[in-house]
């Protein structure tokens, strides 16, 4: 089957600094993958390249076999690491927006999730708290039936109940033909929902393996291994 995300010798330079340096990786359909690395290791750069928000300096990146562009963007559901919803829009307006642009957007599902989390559809983003904004963004992203979900730091700075809800939603949303890439540095929280992990360090992939293989091979959790590998 076709891969959901593939990078070959992918390099991204900002001026003279290399944010990514010759990254090779493959994400097969039906996998939940953790993109792990300390801050500044290139996680966000990689995700932005997959979204077409950045252009590679050299090498290749493909989403479901497509170079990032109009067609690939229809297949990717992206949660950025920052609030990006227009402040003047309401929950309802945002659902209109998503329904208009994304054919795979399930409005009923989004409305249901909003109600479940106690969010009012008529409320404007400007009137929402930081946590509410994050929830709305997550709901919109997870209410799509995409082929690749790119979640950049989805659990950074959320309360434990919301974190559990996010992980639950990822499991509930699981589909055999879609994959999920979660970038985070909070590994212990997500470890149980991951199939595979990719360790990024200074823009290079230092490991790509399955969680259970790591546990079997090293006799320790991915979190413990990560702490050892990235010890300051």
């Amino acid at each position: 089957m076709e891969t959901c995300l593939e990078c070959r010798a992918l390099t991204k330079r900002f001026g003279s600094a290399r944010a990514l340096n010759g990254v090779n990786l493959t994400v097969a359909p039906g996998r939940v993958v953790g993109l792990l690395g300390p801050n500044g290791s290139g996680k966000t750069t990689l995700i932005k390249l997959a979204n077409g928000l950045l252009t590679p300096s050299s090498g290749e990146i493909a989403v479901c076999g497509l170079t990032p562009g109009k067609e690939s963007k229809a297949l990717v559901s992206y949660l950025p690491d920052r609030p990006c919803l227009p402040e003047w829009m309401s929950g309802e307006g945002l659902m209109d927006y998503y329904a208009d642009f994304f054919r795979d957007f399930d409005r009923a599902k989004a409305a249901d999730m909003m109600a479940r989390l106690g969010l009012r559809e008529e409320q404007r983003v400007s009137q929402m708290s930081k946590g509410m904004k994050e929830k709305v963004q997550l709901i919109l992203v997870m209410s799509r039936k995409a082929k690749l979900y790119l979640l950049d730091e989805p659990i950074g700075g959320v309360d434990p109940a919301t974190r559990d809800y996010i992980l639950d939603t990822i499991i509930r949303n699981y589909a055999e033909d879609a994959s999920v890439v979660i970038s985070t540095h909070l590994i212990s929280d997500v470890e149980n929902v991951l199939d595979d992990v990719i360790f990024l360090r200074d823009g290079t992939v230092t490991m790509q393996a399955s969680v259970d293989d790591i546990r079997e091979q090293y006799g320790k959790s991915v979190d413990a291994l990560f702490r050892e590998v990235f010890k300051c």
Partner: protein, 273 residues
């Protein structure tokens, strides 16, 4: 997808522009009554001051709307494509071309609306203030015919063609204005920091480049014009149309240039903070 982008663009801008346009129209009506009131009044009363104030507010309102429509054109492009909202809008399954056109066409409609508002509110003020009566259609036709006749006598061609050329010039003028701002912002925001300052720098550098180019063109053409027999043989109509057409060609060329620059930077040099 262009239609959907424009629909949401109008939603985003309409919530600001429509109330402003409506308010200014109401102000125009009030200003009309003020004019009428002032004509009948000689002393400096409280009412007199109120009438004057209304007229001032109406005038300032017109100016403010002209500023707002310009600022909104810049702000919509900058905020929705090049800042945090860009994480949403630039990951929509649409082409960069559709994004630029949606912004351009929407701004264009608002520029037109403000232009129309200007004439409409002037008309409202004057008709209520009883300077003029509702124009007679027959009178207007008469005016048009006389103008045409006069132009024909001068040998400068048809009125309709001038009107068309003028409208095209306005259209391209708006395009050049918007696209020059878009290109500047797209260039400035491709940097990691100081995006806004660099956008201004880009804008002024474009201005300098344009100035130098046009100076060079004038110096290249002028000496030849002096020695050529162009003016002796050409009819006034031909001359006027040549000038107008030249203006349009330059406008179209600049629009295309700025469009391509904007497109290139949004597509290849996007660098959201």
């Amino acid at each position: 997808m262009l239609g959907k982008l424009m629909k949401h663009e109008f939603r985003a801008t309409g919530r600001i522009m429509l109330p402003l346009l409506a308010a200014e129209l109401i102000l125009a009506v009030l200003a009309g009554f003020s004019v009428r009131g002032l004509e009948r009044m000689e002393d400096m009363s409280f009412l007199h001051a109120l009438y004057v104030l209304t007229l001032i507010v109406f005038g300032l309102g017109m100016f403010a709307i002209a500023v707002v429509v310009f600022v909104l054109m810049i702000q919509r492009f900058y905020r929705s494509l090049l800042r945090d909202e860009g994480y949403l809008s630039m990951t929509l399954p649409v082409t960069v071309d559709a994004q630029i056109w949606a912004k351009l066409l929407t701004s264009f409609v608002w520029f037109l609306a403000v232009g129309a508002l200007f004439f409409l509110s002037m008309f409202v003020v004057m008709s209520i203030g009883s300077y003029i009566t509702l124009p007679d259609l027959e009178e207007f036709r008469e005016f048009w015919r006389s103008m045409e006749a006069e132009l024909r006598e001068l040998g400068v061609g048809s009125m309709a063609l001038y009107l068309f050329e003028m409208l095209a010039a306005v259209f391209l003028g708006v395009c050049v204005t918007c696209l020059r701002c878009y290109a500047s912002m797209a260039i400035g925001c491709s940097a990691a920091d100081h995006k806004l300052i660099l956008s201004f720098v880009a804008y002024f550098l474009i201005g300098i480049a344009l100035g130098m180019t046009s100076n060079a063109a004038v110096f290249a053409v002028l000496p030849r014009l002096e020695t050529s027999s162009f003016f002796e043989h050409v009819s006034p109509a031909r001359f006027m149309h040549t000038v107008m057409l030249g203006n349009l060609v330059i406008g179209a060329g600049l629009s295309a240039l700025f469009y391509l620059v904007t497109r290139y930077f949004l597509k290849n040099k996007l660098n959201l903070a």
